[in-house]
């Protein structure tokens, strides 16, 4: 994995903004009532994120350190305005579905977070890759939440009804359902021990391999010393 694809892997899996970093919770909880909404929000954010990372990375030697946050906000706000106007012109459906949450992308902490943590310190190409990775991770997260909420809450998959009206658990299209699904998916991600920044393997002193939960899969088992590192 070279350093460019590494950024994508990092954004989608290791530091997934939704399930690992818990960033951008406002759109995550508010607009994921269906898979399409989640996907649309994720893609919109991704476009803004890629462009803002690029611009901020290009300007990183121009922006004085002390006023960097206002400068970042100006850049992001400009980009969000452009994206919103584009949406109004070409995808009015999405614009109406996402409503107020498009202007709110300005204060989305993923975008400011990546600007502060990455784009402000790295080269433009790497920053763009980072934006793509983070944006993809965010889109995947939002779409996954949207899929579950849509199936449970309105009984449909991408708008096609598969469960009769009477059995819709409508709490899932409301705010509490968003919390339920987010928590469950995050728990699942932790349970499956998907590689992530918060899921690092614990280093234990294991004297007895037979009593260990990892038994059989432990990398230290073959050394014959039982974890004496």
């Amino acid at each position: 994995m070279n350093k460019y694809t590494e950024r994508i892997y990092n954004g989608v899996v290791k530091e997934n903004p939704t399930f690992v970093m818990m960033l951008g919770m406002c759109p995550t909880l508010a607009v994921t009532s269906s898979a399409f909404n989640g996907f649309g929000m994720g893609m919109t954010t991704m476009v803004v994120l890629v462009m803002s990372n690029l611009v901020i990375s290009l300007l990183r030697n121009v922006i004085p350190d002390r006023v960097r946050i206002p400068a970042y906000i100006v850049v992001v706000a400009t980009l969000v305005t452009i994206v919103q106007l584009l949406l109004q012109a070409y995808i009015p459906v999405l614009n109406e579905l996402l409503g107020i949450y498009i202007p709110l992308i300005v204060v989305n902490c993923i975008i400011l977070g990546r600007a502060e943590a990455y784009a402000g310190k790295h080269s433009p190409v790497l920053s763009v890759m980072d934006g793509i990775g983070m944006g993809l991770g965010f889109t995947i997260g939002l779409t996954a939440i949207g899929v579950f909420r849509e199936i449970l809450g309105s009984g449909s998959v991408l708008g096609y009804q598969i469960i009769p009206e009477d059995y819709h658990i409508s709490i899932f299209v409301m705010a509490p359902g968003a919390f339920f699904v987010l928590a469950m998916l995050t728990a699942l991600q932790n349970k499956l021990k998907a590689p992530s920044a918060t899921n690092t393997e614990e280093k234990k002193d294991c004297a007895d391999c037979s009593a260990c939960a990892l038994s059989g899969n432990c990398t230290r088992m073959n050394s014959g010393k039982g974890g004496d590192e």
């Binding site: 009477d166 819709h168 658990i169 409508s170 709490i171 899932f172 409301m174 509490p176 339920f180």
Partner: protein, 317 residues
């Protein structure tokens, strides 16, 4: 002569979780039996389904997660029974079953099982179901005829019969209709000292005061009695608000807790869209319990003035 060396406590009470839960089940029997008598076979099936599925949910979860089985302590039976009593009589059986699984797995077990849940599982399940399936959960029937609950009748300015409401000859959920049967069960719990009157009494009194001030009904005694005996207030005050896990342990705290529930119930009933508000009032107040306990912690004798702070003072605060 032998000396036993052990750490405190040296004297143990005879109350065990299973005995308390058994007492609660006995206390719920009058209202359960009245509900089955008044509403008929489906009410019985709803209660059986909710109790059985609550126990099954607890068993399955603990088995799958390889935790210690706590099915025998009876807490799942009480939760299931309360869910059943909170259902309208003609509800399809899969709704209480879904509610029981939600209560046991999401509200109780995910937070660590018995004693760890921050919200009354039965009421959380009821609210979950009311929000999700409003059509089924607000369809109250008596003898296969749709009827309005007394509270709804009062809210819309209709006539009501106070004696029928007290005995339970009216529409409502299976377990809430008969104030008389609930009071019999409550008396049993009081005699057995399973609950104290602090929470129910402060709840009912504060609710009454709130209604007196804000309902605009003057001194219409019939209206106030109907508000107290109607809907879920009685079963809520005596059986749900007094849940050990989700109510404060300090005496002052219990009174504060009762007052907050009373005021919230009043707000929901007078200003809310729906005629009922007990379940939401109780689960919202459940969330405040840690703070109530923090504010009302008694000061050990001789330790000077109470000093309140949110800071952790060494160890577990």
């Amino acid at each position: 002569m032998t000396f036993h060396v052990s750490s405190s406590p040296h004297v143990r009470g005879v109350e065990t979780t299973s005995r308390i839960m058994f007492d609660v089940v006995i206390a719920l029997l009058p209202t359960t039996l009245w509900g089955i008598y008044w509403f008929g076979l489906n009410a019985f099936l709803v209660i059986v389904a909710s109790v059985a599925s609550a126990v099954l949910a607890e068993y399955l979860y603990e088995k799958l997660m390889k935790k210690k089985l706590t099915v025998r302590d009876g807490s799942a039976i009480v939760t299931g029974l309360l869910i059943g009593l909170n259902m309208p009589p003609e509800v399809p059986l899969w709704i209480p079953i879904l509610g029981s699984f939600f209560a046991i797995i999401v509200v109780k077990q995910l937070y660590g099982g018995i004693g760890q849940n921050f919200m009354n599982p039965a009421l959380a399940a009821r609210c979950f179901l009311v929000i999700s399936f409003a059509k089924y959960m607000t369809n109250f029937t008596v003898d296969a005829v749709s009827t309005a609950t007394p509270l709804y009748v009062i809210k819309t300015g209709g006539e009501f019969d106070l004696l029928d409401m007290f005995i339970g000859r009216c529409g409502g959920t299976i377990g809430e209709v008969s104030a008389l049967a609930i009071l019999i069960g409550a008396a049993y719990l009081l005699v057995r000292r399973v609950i104290s009157v602090r929470i129910p009494l402060s709840y009912i009194l504060s609710f009454l005061v709130f209604e007196l001030i804000f309902s605009g009904r003057g001194l219409d005694a019939e209206y106030y009695l109907a508000q107290i005996f109607g809907g879920g207030l009685m079963i809520g005050a005596w059986f749900m608000a007094t849940d050990y896990v989700t109510s404060p342990i300090t005496k002052v705290g219990q009174i504060v807790y009762g007052i907050i529930i009373g005021v919230l119930t009043g707000i929901f009933r007078i200003y809310g869209n729906s005629a009922e508000g007990v379940s939401f009032a109780i689960i919202i107040t459940n969330l405040l319990v840690p703070f109530i306990e923090k504010f009302t912690q008694p000061v050990p004798f001789g330790m000077g003035r109470k000093q309140f702070s949110f800071e952790k003072k060494g160890g577990k605060a």
